[in-house]
C-alpha cells in the first residue's frame, strides 16, 4: 500500500496548526505541515512535527481496566460501562447528584465536551462539570466576559502582522505558541514595536525592542502606571471612551491612586520606561496586546485581565483590525471546551446556569430537569473529594501533575468512593482510578476543535484505534445510555447540528462548512462567513466596561526560610503533563528530564554547577531536579517546567485561588534550593 496523506489538526496547543498525517499500512508514520492551512501555512513547531510519534506507542491503553486491590484487571466494555453507570447511579441516589463531578477535557473535541457536560447535567442534575481551563484561562473567560462580553481573543492570528505595536505580557509564545511568533516577526519586519513584559528573559523578550523585567506578579501596577501616564499626557482615546465605554470614572479614580512613581516602585521598572512604553502603545495606529499565563495564573488573575482590557479600551485599540486583546489559549481545544459549556456556571455558548430562561431552554431541548445552582470548579471538586464529591468521572485530564499542590491531589483522589478515568495512557491520575476506560488519540477520531482565534476546525480520522479502545464520543454515549438517557448519536456531525440550534453564535456552524478552512465564531447562520475580529462598532455586551482592577501581591513572597521566587511554566519540546510528548522519541531526545533554571550568581553563592542535582522546597513539598544555570531568570528567581512526573513542579506551587475565577497562583510562590549530595561519591 502506498502512503496516504490525511489533513487534520495538531493536538498540542491552541494555535491549531494544520497537519498532514502520513498513513502507511494503517499506521501514522510521519507528520508534515499543511501548506493550505490558514493559520500555520506550511509551518509547524517541534511538537507539531512530532505529533504522530505517540499514537502507536506500546503503552496505549487497549482495554477497560478495573482496580482489584493494588492491581488493574482487564474487563469487557459491557462490564465496564455497567460498572461505571451503576457506581455513578448509586452514588447519586445515596448522596444526591451534587456528589458527582465530571472533569471534561480541553484535549477532546467540541462534540465530546458538549456530550460530556450534557451527560453530567442531565443524568445527575448537577453543574459539577469543569476542565483545565480553570488552570489557564478561567480569568480570561471571567475578566474579558465582564469587560467586553466575550472571553475570547478579539482578533485573528494573522492580524498581528499588521500591528504597529505589539505588547506581550506574560507570554513565552516562542516556546508555548511558536507559530504565533511568525506573525509577530512579520510585524517587526514591517517596523512594528514589540514590548515584552516578563520577569524572565525568554526568547520572546530577547528578541523584543523593549523588555520590561518586572517583579513577579506586579502586572497591575505596571499597567496602571502606563494608563495613568496615558491619561496624564492626553493620549487616551476620549472619543472611544465617551461613545463606547462605561465605568470610566471608576477607572479614573483607581488610577488616581497609582501615580507613575508609585507604580514604578511596585513593579520594579523605571518611571521613564513605563512612560515610554505607554506612549509607544498609545500612539501606534494599531496596537495589539498578547497575554498568557503570566497574567492569568495569579491570585489576582481576573483583575490582571481587567487591567489588560482597560489599557486596550482606554486607547480605543479594540474592535478593529490588527489591534485588540490576544489571550493565547493553551490546549488545542480549550477554547472549544469552554464554548461547549464544560464549565460549572454556564451551558454551551456561555449561557448562564442561573438564568431561568436559559435553564428552561435547555430543559426543553434535553427533556430533563436541570440544576440552577452553579457547580464546583476543578480545584474545588478535587479538594472536596470524599466529602461533597463522592464519585468523579475524569475524561482526559491529568490533575495529578497539572494541579497546584499535587501532593494534596494525590491524597484527595483516593478518598473518592469511585473514580473513573478515561484516557489514552495510564496517566498518573489513571493510576489512582477504580475504573479506566481506554479512549482514542487525535489521529483516530473525527470531530472539531476550536483554536485560540475562535476557529472551528475539522479533525479527521486517519487510523483505527489500538485494541478495544473506543472514541470518547462513543464511550460518553454508552455511559449515558446505561444511565437511562437517550444519546443515540451516530456521528459527531449530529452533535454539532444540535449545538448550532442551542447556541446562537454557532448557529451557522456545520461539518460541511468546516471541511475546507474552518469558521471563526460568531457565525450565526448558514450564510455568515464567520468573524475575523470582535466588538466592531459595538461590544458583545453593548458598551465596553472599565473595571478598576483589584490588585493583590502574590500570596507568598520570598523570606529568610524560602528566599527564592519560584515560577513555573512550559518549555518548547514538551506539552503540559507530558503524557504524549514524553512518549514521543524526538521530543524526548530534545529534553529528556526535568530541570530548574537558576541565575549564575545565585548558583555561585550556593556552590551549584550546571547539571548538579538540587532539591527545591516550598511550604507544600520538595522535588529533586537538575540545575540549569542561565540568565533567563532574574537573580533571586527560579523557573521549573511542570511537564515532568519525576520532579513535579506542582508539588511546590501554591493552591491559593483567585476569588473570581478560582485559578491557582502557579506563577509565584516562595522556595529554597539546596544542592543534593553527589550520588557517585556516596556510592
Amino acid at each position: 500500500m502506498s502512503p496516504d496523506y490525511i489533513k487534520t489538526i495538531c493536538p498540542y496547543c491552541g494555535v491549531g496548526c494544520g497537519l498532514l498525517l502520513k498513513v502507511e499500512d494503517g499506521k501514522v508514520t510521519a507528520t508534515l505541515p499543511d501548506r493550505e492551512h490558514p493559520v500555520s501555512r506550511g509551518t509547524l513547531c517541534i511538537k507539531g512535527w512530532s505529533a504522530h510519534e505517540f499514537v502507536h506507542h506500546p503503552e496505549r491503553l487497549k482495554s477497560p481496566l478495573v482496580r482489584r486491590g493494588d492491581r488493574f484487571e482487564e474487563i469487557s466494555w459491557k462490564e465496564a460501562i455497567a460498572l461505571a453507570a451503576e457506581k455513578l447511579k448509586v452514588t447519586a441516589e445515596r448522596f444526591g447528584g451534587d456528589a458527582i463531578g465530571g472533569l471534561s477535557s480541553a484535549k477532546c473535541t467540541n462534540e465530546e465536551n458538549y456530550l460530556f457536560q450534557k451527560l453530567i447535567r442531565m443524568a445527575f442534575k448537577t453543574n459539577n462539570v469543569d476542565h483545565c481551563a480553570r488552570l489557564c484561562h478561567a480569568p480570561t473567560a471571567a475578566g474579558m466576559g465582564q469587560t467586553t462580553g466575550s472571553g475570547a481573543m478579539t482578533n485573528s492570528i494573522s492580524d498581528l502582522a499588521g500591528a504597529e505595536c505589539i505588547l506581550i505580557v506574560g507570554s513565552n509564545a516562542a516556546e508555548s505558541h511558536p507559530i504565533i511568533m511568525g506573525e509577530v516577526y512579520k510585524a517587526v519586519d514591517r517596523g512594528a514595536h514589540v514590548i515584552v513584559v516578563d520577569p524572565r528573559r525568554t526568547a520572546v523578550a530577547a528578541n523584543a525592542e523593549i523588555h520590561l523585567r518586572m517583579n513577579p506578579g506586579a502586572d497591575i501596577p505596571l499597567l496602571a502606571g502606563m494608563m495613568r501616564h496615558i491619561i496624564d499626557s492626553g493620549l487616551a482615546n476620549e472619543k472611544f471612551i465617551s461613545e463606547r465605554m462605561e465605568g470610566f470614572p471608576e477607572l479614573k479614580k483607581f488610577l488616581d491612586s497609582w501615580p507613575v512613581e508609585k507604580a514604578a516602585n511596585e513593579c520594579g521598572i523605571a518611571e521613564g520606561d513605563i512612560k515610554r512604553v505607554a506612549e509607544v502603545y498609545a500612539k501606534a495606529k494599531d496596537s495589539a496586546i498578547i497575554y498568557c499565563m503570566g497574567i492569568t495564573q495569579h491570585a489576582c488573575g481576573t483583575a490582571n485581565v481587567h487591567a489588560v482590557c482597560d489599557l486596550a479600551m482606554l486607547c480605543g485599540k479594540i474592535g478593529k483590525e490588527s489591534s485588540g486583546v490576544y489571550p493565547l489559549r493553551g490546549q488545542n481545544n480549550v477554547q472549544g471546551a469552554c464554548d461547549m459549556g464544560a464549565l460549572p456556571n454556564v451551558y454551551p455558548g456561555y449561557q448562564n446556569v442561573t438564568d431561568r430562561a436559559v435553564q428552561e431552554k435547555f430543559e426543553k431541548a434535553w427533556g430533563r430537569a436541570l440544576s440552577a445552582k452553579p457547580g464546583l470548579t476543578v480545584t474545588e471538586m478535587i479538594g472536596s473529594a470524599g466529602k461533597e464529591i463522592r464519585a468523579l468521572y475524569i475524561m482526559a485530564e491529568n490533575p495529578a501533575i497539572s494541579d497546584p499542590d499535587v501532593n494534596h491531589v494525590l491524597e484527595s483522589l483516593p478518598k473518592l468512593d469511585f473514580l473513573i478515568v478515561q484516557d489514552i495512557f495510564l496517566t498518573e491520575t489513571a493510576k489512582l482510578a477504580n475504573l479506566i476506560l481506554p479512549a482514542v488519540a487525535f489521529a483516530e477520531k473525527t470531530g472539531t476543535y476550536t483554536n485560540t482565534e475562535r476557529r472551528f476546525q475539522l479533525l479527521r480520522k486517519a487510523v483505527k484505534p489500538p485494541g478495544d479502545a473506543k472514541g470518547d464520543f462513543e464511550i460518553i454515549c454508552l455511559v449515558a445510555n446505561a444511565l437511562g438517557l437517550d444519546f443515540s448519536y451516530t456521528h459527531p456531525r449530529e452533535v454539532m447540528d444540535e449545538i448550532a440550534k442551542l447556541v446562537p453564535a454557532y448557529g451557522g456552524v456545520s461539518f460541511d462548512r468546516l471541511e475546507k478552512a474552518g469558521l471563526q465564531w460568531p457565525c450565526p447562520d448558514g450564510g455568515h462567513g464567520g468573524t475575523r475580529f470582535l466588538h466592531e462598532g459595538r461590544f458583545t455586551r453593548g458598551k465596553g466596561l472599565f473595571i478598576a482592577p483589584a490588585y493583590t501581591r502574590p500570596f507568598e513572597k520570598p523570606d529568610r526560610e524560602y528566599p527564592f521566587w519560584l515560577n513555573t511554566g512550559r518549555m518548547f519540546a514538551h506539552y503540559h503533563t507530558g503524557t504524549m510528548t514524553r512518549r514521543s522519541p524526538f521530543l524526548k531526545r530534545e529534553m529528556e528530564g526535568p530541570y530548574v533554571e537558576l541565575h549564575p550568581e545565585d548558583a555561585r553563592a550556593a556552590g551549584i554547577k550546571d547539571g548538579d542535582r538540587i532539591r527545591i522546597t516550598s511550604r507544600r513539598g520538595n522535588i529533586v531536579t537538575a540545575a540549569r544555570i542561565t540568565e533567563r531568570v532574574a537573580r533571586g528567581s527560579i523557573f521549573a517546567p511542570f511537564h515532568f512526573t519525576e520532579a513535579r513542579a506542582n508539588v511546590l506551587t501554591n493552591p491559593v485561588l483567585d476569588p473570581v475565577s478560582k485559578i491557582p497562583e502557579f506563577k509565584a510562590c516562595a522556595a529554597r534550593i539546596e544542592k543534593e549530595p553527589d550520588e557517585r561519591r556516596q556510592g
Binding site: 508534515l32 493550505e36 509551518t43 507559530i179 511568525g182
Partner: protein
C-alpha cells in the same frame, strides 16, 4: 499545462512506466494535498498549484515502498534538481524514479528568488528566465555592510529560531542519519534559540555544495528566517568559481569533493562583498 501533466501521468500509469505518480490532488471539499496516483482514473483530480515541493516525500515513499516500485514525481525545477542530487549521492535508484517536469510562473520565481524556475526535463509550461538573487531587496539588505554589520543582521534573524527542525525536516537533501544537529557535542539540547554557529552554520555548510535552492526550508520556517539567502553566497561562489550548480548535471561531482587542486588563488574569484579574508588571517 495542467491537462498536459494529467495526460502524461495517465499514460505513464496505463503503460506501466510508473507504479505511482506523486502530485497534488484536489479532493472532496476542494481540499488540496499530496497524493500518490496509482489508478489512471484518479488523475482527473490532479492539480499542480500551489507550489508544494515533493522531492522529500518522494524519497521517503521510495524508501518504504516495495522493491522495484517505480515512482514518477510532478517536479518543478528545484524538485528535479533535488532528486538529481539525491541520485548522485546514491540516495535514490535512478531506474525507480521518473519526473513530469513543470515550469514555475514569474511570480513564483520572484518569491523564491529562483534563478532557474524550470526543470531540465520540461513537460508542461513555458520556461521563463529566472531572477537574479542579488537583485532581491532582502538579499541586498543582508549582504550590505561590513562583516560585523552582516553578522549582526544574521544574528538578529537567526535568534528568532524556535528550533522546530522544520528546515532540516523539509530539506530534500538533509538525509544524513544520524543528523549532526541531533549531536549534543554540537547543539545544546532543550534550549531555544538554536545556537547560530553550531546549528544554523553547521546546517548551511553541510548543504554548501548540495543545496538546490528549492526554498523548502524557508517555506517551513515559522519565523521567516531567510534561509535561501543564507545558502546563496556559497552556491554563487561555486557557480562563479567552478561553474558548478548542485542538481544540474547528474554526472558532475561536487568540486568541494573532487576539484580542490583547481582552487583559485586567494580572493581571485570571491564575490566583492567578501572582505573578511585579510592578510593577518593567514595561518
Amino acid at each position: 499545462m495542467l491537462n498536459r501533466v494529467r495526460d502524461i501521468a495517465k499514460t505513464m500509469l496505463v503503460k506501466k512506466q510508473a507504479d505511482g505518480v506523486l502530485g497534488l490532488i484536489k479532493g472532496e471539499w476542494d481540499i488540496i494535498r499530496p497524493h500518490i496516483f496509482e489508478r489512471p482514473e484518479e488523475v482527473d483530480a490532479m492539480v499542480i498549484e500551489p507550489k508544494w515541493l515533493l522531492a522529500k516525500m518522494a524519497i521517503s515513499i521510495l524508501r518504504s515502498s516495495r522493491e522495484r516500485y517505480r515512482l514518477a514525481v510532478v517536479a518543478r525545477g528545484c524538485d528535479e534538481r533535488a532528486l538529481t542530487e539525491l541520485m548522485k549521492r546514491n540516495q535514490i535508484e535512478r531506474e525507480r524514479l521518473g519526473t513530469i517536469g513543470i515550469a514555475c510562473t514569474a511570480d513564483q520565481a520572484r518569491s523564491c528568488i529562483c534563478s532557474r524556475p524550470f526543470p531540465e526535463r520540461l513537460d508542461a509550461g513555458e520556461a521563463i528566465s529566472g531572477v537574479d538573487p542579488y537583485d532581491d531587496d532582502v538579499v541586498k539588505g543582508l549582504l550590505a555592510g561590513d562583516a560585523s554589520a552582516r553578522m549582526e543582521k544574521w544574528a538578529r534573524v537567526l535568534n528568532r529560531c524556535i528550533k522546530c527542525y522544520g528546515c532540516r525536516n523539509s530539506c530534500p537533501i538533509c538525509v544524513c542519519i544520524p543528523c549532526k544537529l541531533e549531536d549534543e557535542v554540537w547543539v545544546e539540547k532543550g534550549v531555544i534559540p538554536a545556537e547560530m554557529m553550531s546549528y544554523h552554520f553547521i546546517r548551511a555548510f553541510h548543504l554548501s555544495d548540495t543545496c538546490v535552492a528549492c526554498g523548502a526550508c524557508q517555506d517551513a520556517c515559522p519565523v521567516n528566517i531567510p534561509l535561501v539567502a543564507l545558502q546563496l553566497s556559497m552556491r554563487e561562489f561555486l557557480r562563479e568559481t567552478y561553474g558548478y550548480e548542485a542538481g544540474l548535471d547528474p554526472e558532475r561531482r561536487s568540486p568541494i569533493l573532487y576539484d580542490l587542486h583547481r582552487e583559485p588563488a586567494k580572493g581571485q574569484a570571491l564575490p566583492d562583498w567578501i572582505n573578511t579574508l585579510r592578510e593577518d588571517d593567514e595561518p
